[in-house]
């Protein structure tokens, strides 16, 4: 069963259409990347998935159920800008917000201690939120987002402001959640994190989907039809290669339209060239992003 299914949602504020006929789905046990330029409608989409605002039309279903009061307990959310009750203690904050997700006090406390221990925050559990550093506060908010064992967790820029140690810790915990079959939606501007963590992505611009699907497939679609080569010896003329670009440590071979990378590899091997690296060039997601968004801007 799909963890989340968003079908044809539309939302407009005043006279401006912010999300326009958007459909996508997230499977259980998947980390899904939601990307797009500022003002593309990402936050509005997330808010509709989190049942904070209702779409004008269209529907969001969680594990086959329509969003309602009851499904709210299955949602976990880490908003982009974070805050908690400054004067409240760490443990009290977690327990209160967990209780609003339908957890009883005892199991909330138990689970909170477990997660605090896992994140190394246990010594700080008696402190007030205002005494914590920014990164620590973020860890607490992450705990609040996942403590109630939600089916869908949406994380908006989860790594912003975290040090490398905590970033790795968080990535590990996200992987654990995925392995438990949870659906995770990751919204970030850091494309390297999307490439590292996500299986599939949705890119939206002006409220519409501009790219949607398997990350590897998208990248292969956008590849520039060239191969990257590290070799020893003399290359000479290679049939099917129109141009050779020498970069630092490797050479990029531009192929003509008819030749496949596999044929090029065969020809190189037949010539007895020592090949250390042969890679079909795929553009980084960042470049695809710029290309797609740039095109839309025109």
């Amino acid at each position: 069963m799909l963890a989340v299914e968003v079908s044809h949602i539309v939302k407009s504020f005043a006279d401006k259409v912010v999300v326009n006929d958007l459909s996508f789905s997230v499977a259980q046990g998947e980390i899904f990347g939601l990307i797009g330029p500022n003002g593309a409608g990402k936050t509005t989409t997330i808010r509709m998935m989190m049942d904070i605002i209702k779409p004008d039309s269209g529907e969001v279903t969680i594990l086959g159920e329509k969003l309602s009061e009851a499904t709210k307990n299955k949602l976990g959310y880490l908003p982009e800008e974070r805050g908690l009750y400054k004067k409240l203690g760490v443990l009290d904050s977690i327990i209160y917000l967990a209780s609003l997700k339908g957890m009883d006090r005892r199991s909330a406390e138990e689970k909170a201690n477990e997660l605090l221990n896992q994140t190394g925050m246990l010594p700080h559990r008696g402190k007030k939120i205002e005494e914590l550093s920014r990164g620590m506060g973020q860890i607490i908010q992450f705990i609040v987002g996942i403590i109630h064992d939600p089916e869908l967790v949406v994380l908006d820029e989860p790594f912003a402001g975290l040090d490398p140690v905590n970033t790795e810790l968080l990535k590990g915990m996200l992987a654990d959640l995925r392995n438990q079959g949870k659906a995770l939606v990751l919204s970030t501007h850091q494309m390297n994190e999307i490439e590292e963590l996500c299986d599939r992505i949705l890119m939206i611009n002006h409220g519409r989907a501009v790219l949607y699907g398997n990350l590897a497939e998208i990248k292969s679609k956008y590849r520039s039809n060239s191969v990257l080569l590290e070799f020893e010896g003399e290359l000479g003329e290679v049939p099917g290669v129109t141009e050779k670009r020498t970069h630092k440590g490797y050479t990029e071979l531009m192929l003509d339209g008819k030749t496949t990378p596999h044929q090029v590899l065969e020809r190189l091997v037949n010539r007895g060239i020592m090949i250390n690296r042969f890679e079909v060039a795929t553009p980084p997601l960042n470049e695809i992003f710029l290309r797609v968004v740039g095109k839309n801007h025109e």
Partner: protein, 404 residues
């Protein structure tokens, strides 16, 4: 537990633990205790002295020789103003006055003193007045009549009920004190409590916690839980004050006595105080919630709510007018106008009876306003609570109210 109840409990405890709230709750009875103490101290020190003072007079008309002893004041006769001035400068007399020869036709008395003062003290005035009256009437009417002319009226009022029996609630200033003080406290409690609500919403909006909350509960649950939770804290505060009143009153009347022993609570006072606190708070709470939703931070919200608190305070500004002109139709308007009703009713309760139809209309208008504003608030709440940055224009809000 129900999510609304969870929010209610959280907000109640969060408010009740605020330092400002605790200080407010405790300080009011403490200040009253302190005032009683200071009153005793001051009245102990400033008890009127039994010392006899001497006032001089020059009788240019003639015939003012008797009755020179008036209570603690003795009147000493001088032949000429110069003699009197000399005695005044030497400190033999405190002041002197001259009865001119045309006194009977003009009534003018010239008074001379070394002190800077607003007016002659009432003791001096009474002494001079009685001295003149007694001498003018001497020998013309019986002595007892002279005394009666000097003090013709010792008014003792008794209020009767419709059956002719003595009413338990006698009115007068003794009846006014507590409503007057309580109206101020009620206004403060309503303003502070709705401020807490506004500030809480503003903070949650500013630090985006509102998104986490709204992904867990509905806007209706959040609003209901917050309004009732903070309101319960405010009600507890008012209840503590109300309960401490009879106790403090007892203390004041037994230790100070006099006027304080005549103080009594108007009928239905506690019931009406609690009802008007609840309704007044609910009204300001729903207004605060909608202001909290549309304003971009708690500072801006507090400026906006300031406008709405003005009508609440108007009855306090006009308290003396209400005291002396209690029958003006203007007060009927303020009794029924929902923003001023809570304080106006409490103030009027101490001055005169409020007709039942006015109370009924006032309560009905308040309840209807609360429901009406609540419906509007729920419409704007969810939309604007999530909009940060610029506050929407009034035109846009009205458009949204229509379409929302």
């Amino acid at each position: 537990m129900n999510k609304t109840l969870l929010i209610l409990r959280h907000e109640f405890l969060h408010t009740a633990k605020r330092r400002g709230f605790i200080v407010m709750t405790v300080i009011v009875p403490l200040v009253a205790l302190l005032l009683i103490g200071v009153f005793q101290l001051v009245s102990g020190i400033a008890r009127p002295t039994a010392e006899v003072t001497t006032i001089g007079y020059v009788d240019e008309l003639g015939g003012f020789q008797q009755y020179t002893s008036q209570g603690n004041i003795t009147l000493a006769r001088f032949d000429t103003p110069d003699d009197a001035t000399e005695a005044l400068v030497n400190g033999d007399i405190k002041e002197y006055f001259v009865i001119p020869s045309d006194y009977i036709s003009t009534g003018v008395i010239n008074r001379y003193t070394l002190e800077k003062q607003l007016a002659a003290s009432s003791a001096t005035m009474t002494a001079i007045k009685n001295f003149l009256t007694s001498n003018l009437l001497a020998g013309k009417v019986p002595e007892a009549t002279v005394v009666r002319i000097e003090a013709p009226l010792n008014l003792v009022s008794t209020r009767l009920t419709e059956t002719g029996a003595v009413a338990p609630e006698q009115g007068g200033y003794g009846n006014f004190v507590i409503p007057a003080v309580f109206s101020i406290l009620l206004a403060l409690a309503i303003i502070f409590t709705s401020m807490y609500l506004l500030q809480g919403l503003g903070d949650e909006k500013e630090n985006r916690l509102i998104e986490v909350l709204l992904s867990s509960v509905s806007a209706r649950q959040l609003l209901t839980g917050k309004v009732l939770g903070i309101g319960a804290a405010g009600l507890a505060q008012v209840a503590i004050w109300a309960i401490s009143v009879p106790f403090l009153l007892n203390l004041a009347s037994s230790s100070i006595g006099g006027f304080f022993s005549t103080i009594q609570l108007p009928a239905n006072f506690i019931v009406l105080a609690v009802v008007y606190f609840i309704l007044g708070y609910l009204l300001f709470a729903v207004i605060s919630a909608s202001i909290g939703a549309i304003s971009s931070n708690s500072r801006e919200g507090q400026q906006l709510i300031g406008i709405f608190t003005i009508p609440l305070l108007i009855p306090l500004w006009f308290m003396s007018l209400i005291m002396f002109l209690p029958d003006s139709p203007i007060w009927v308007f303020f009794t029924i106008f929902p923003l001023s009703a809570p304080v106006e009713v409490i103030v009027r309760l101490g001055v005169a009876d409020i007709p039942a139809w006015q109370l009924a209309t006032s309560l009905a208008v308040m309840v209807l306003s609360i429901i009406g504003i609540l419906l509007l608030t729920i419409r704007v709440f969810r939309t604007y609570l999530l909009m940060y940055g610029k506050r929407p224009g009034w035109g846009e809000i009205i458009r949204n109210l229509r379409s929302g």
